[in-house]
Symmetry: C3
Subunit: 362 residues, 3 copies
């Protein structure tokens, strides 16, 4: 009884426009996510080129240096103290949530949050478009994580069509995109590999099929020269053909191997991942795999070159024992903290503050 004369047409017109947009190849979408030549919405790892990546890493470094003195903290916090950010998370995530909230604090931004969809107007039958547009009435930035693919993109697309657009940062979308995770991985590799990432051997280990971090990171490798990727994964969870094709097209050297120990011995960086059993398509799919060959143990630590580093997006399960943490080559806890800094640098960039921050001497 709720169908009126003209709405279905209007509604379907809007849905048609969205479909048309959503199904474009990536290059056709990117332009609307930039403003005045500058990053505005941050949705895909593929939006970052080498120049952007280098600038973000430099900005993050500079912010850390500035904040060694309280005067530097006060300066950064004064920049966006009049802004509010909405952290809208439909999926549990301790570290992504906390690192974004902390990044906002570093810049003085006040955080509003919805982490529990029961407390929102979705229960009154509101459309997602309207819910998101509501945020734009009150806040200046939306940081959004959603378990369904396309929803964060839709939020950004919808806001871009209103008289009061505001930037959207993707904090994890569906099974595939998690661009700020890729940013922090790049930042970490560049920070701890002597001379940076160019020309280095990176070994990716674990559930490479379903781990969005290793997928996003692989895309970003096209920005670095002479990188070699080695994939070590159980047969059921090997790196997928779309990524392998992408690497071939961009002439990025890669191989697959079953022999983790040999790969580690030649590695500059080992990127460990946990099994992503939340994406199992049949019950117990993950449990039937013997994942122990994809654990990093003391035996691997012995073989890892002196300047080699170990990364992990965390949380971990059994794939790295806590005692490995004490080795200085285990950089995953620093990697976690890097996430806060690179996200602060990203937000500062979105608000056009890069030059102002860089010009402040430490």
């Amino acid at each position: 009884m709720t169908t009126a004369g003209s709405e279905p047409t209007l509604k379907s017109r809007r849905e048609r426009r969205w479909r048309e947009f959503y199904e474009r190849p990536l290059d056709g979408k990117l332009p609307i996510f930039f403003r005045d030549g500058r990053l505005y919405d941050c949705l895909y790892a593929q939006q970052f080129n080498r120049e952007t990546l280098d600038r973000l890493c430099a900005l993050a470094d500079h912010m850390r240096t500035i904040t060694k003195e309280k005067g530097g903290d006060d300066f950064l916090q004064s920049l966006l103290s009049h802004k509010r950010a909405m952290l809208y998370f439909s999926q549990p995530s301790t570290r992504t949530f906390l690192s974004f909230a902390s990044a906002c604090h570093i810049l003085g931004i006040r955080v509003l949050e919805i982490r529990d969809l029961k407390t929102s107007s979705v229960v009154k039958g509101e459309s997602l478009d309207d819910t998101i547009r509501t945020f734009s009435s009150y806040v200046d930035l939306v940081i959004m994580r959603h378990h369904e693919a396309g929803v964060v993109e839709r939020a950004s697309w919808g806001l871009n069509g209103t008289p009061r657009p505001l930037p959207v940062i993707n904090a994890g979308s569906g099974a595939d995109q998690h661009p700020t995770q890729a940013l922090l991985d790049i930042y970490t590799l560049n920070r701890y590999l002597p001379g940076g990432l160019d020309g280095k051997r990176v070994v990716m280990v674990g559930d490479l099929k379903r781990g969005r971090t290793v997928r996003s990171l692989s895309y970003l490798m096209k920005n670095y020269s002479g990188v070699h990727l080695s994939f070590v994964a159980p047969k059921a969870f090997r790196m997928q053909p779309d990524i392998l094709d992408f690497l071939d097209r961009h002439a990025i050297a890669h191989d697959e191997t079953e022999d983790l120990l040999a790969a580690v011995e030649k590695a500059d960086a080992v990127y460990m991942t946990r099994i992503q059993d939340e994406y199992d398509q049949t019950a117990g799919e993950s449990k039937r795999i013997d994942y122990s060959p994809y654990h990093f143990t003391e035996k691997h630590l012995e073989k890892l070159p002196k300047k080699g580093i170990i990364l992990h997006p965390l949380p971990r399960r059994e794939e790295i024992a806590p005692e490995i943490d004490e080795d200085p080559r285990a950089v995953y806890w620093r990697q976690e903290r890097n996430g806060m800094w690179i996200r602060a640098a990203l937000i500062a960039t979105v608000f056009g503050l890069e030059d102002q921050i860089l010009s402040r001497s430490a």
Copy 2:
């Protein structure tokens, strides 16, 4: 086994005092909600007279102007940066919650929140009186939404009897009162109707029986001269006799009609509402109604005068198609944002900051 000698008497004495207060006619209650001739607790739409309404609207306008410069933001945020507000919401509400939290931020107030009653001491058997009084140990302002009628009033009454009273703002109470929604509606009508609300025709559409926004707004019309109200509603959900009596007593012109199109053609403002099915008293009561005659469609848009405006308290369902949003006469998104500003003006007024803010030049 928990009954002691004297408590029942004491307890019933308190309950008796409360009952005595609660059952007074409104005029007998209002005095305790003012202090030093100034608004202190904000519980009922009926507390606002024309002078207060005009001053709040002017203050909201001035705060918007000031904050066009960051210096103005900083000034406002400095005023109450040492204060804390409790947002205590027993009912889900995205926009009321966010707009109050944002209004607090504008004035520098730190927000503490309880949105999930499971995390509070109610589970340890604490009385509501005690829970509310606990807030007064830590915060300076309580903003409260409760699904049961009388609870917000009780909170305010209880606090007024303690040595540490603090202001309570009603953010929605039971099925009836939502005074800050009425404020933002008045602010919106005054802001976008040429020359303000006096002498204008306002059409109210939809579930007028159970929509607390249209009820509260009707009360406030007594403060404006020459307003004409037209009610367009399904038979089952017509505007109720108590409101019609009120309008008659205050000589506010009004009529009822089935013909939305004709009403729109003569309207200065059309106030749309959704069906309030959460208040259904028999299962499916709302579903049996054909609500489509109470939808605002392109056909109505064509008939609406050029300077006419469309309001909606949001969230909406099907009663306005998203494409209507693009018409400049659709002001409901601006109405939503107005809510943040008028709430900031209200809080500033409660804390006695009106003159200090108005005297700052923009």
Copy 3:
């Protein structure tokens, strides 16, 4: 299928180290919770000696005095505005949560919170050690409440072993420790008893077996001279032998009585508690007790000396009728607010700000 070669050994080595630490007598644990001779982690009531207690009370008093002027608020808020605290609460608690959040605000600290374990990475199978270490990547202070004994201690122990340790404050741990509650009780007794706590008679009433506040407070009595404790409790919930032994060893006078009225007549302070039925070991254990002899009624109020005071950790149920609140000797609401100030003083002390604050004239 998730068992790898070396992890069990490594893991069990870590667990062994923890066990070894956890089972030490208290004196053997305390050193790691101090740094540079200063309180760092705050886990046990037993960590506080007379000098520390006196200094915390004086600091709390001074902070209250300073903040009578907004300039004083601004000064305090500037001190730690670059810091973030994690409030990690596995158990519902309105007042402990709010008072800590408010204490943080007084010092300018931004608060991040986890009050609902469902929104955290625990669901991805992360260990508690890792979850806590994650906090240390983003925040500067952990304030933690946990329903299981030992978990807060483990968090603190774990962080102390990392390159990025940070202070942990126990906000309630298992059935036993709640040191900041004991602090606020001491602060309240000293503040409202003429001449302070030395030489006073304190009557503790109610569920003394399972109430952690009366247990912690009893430990702290060893810091005061000439205190006399009277215990009034139902047979099933009498003060336990471990506390009685402790009092004997420290020559603290104490007795037990069934006669509340006689005890009140000689009391300087009466400390009321509710029945702790959440710790019932058999169903209905608490309901079978007649708790009414342990209620404080008007009859007791008449007998209480003029300068006597009534405390209660709150929330209360029936053991004190709300009308008692109006008597000036009922200090429990002020006690509640004292909790915010003494916690602010504690946090300031942990961050080494004591002298800076005390040297600011009010």
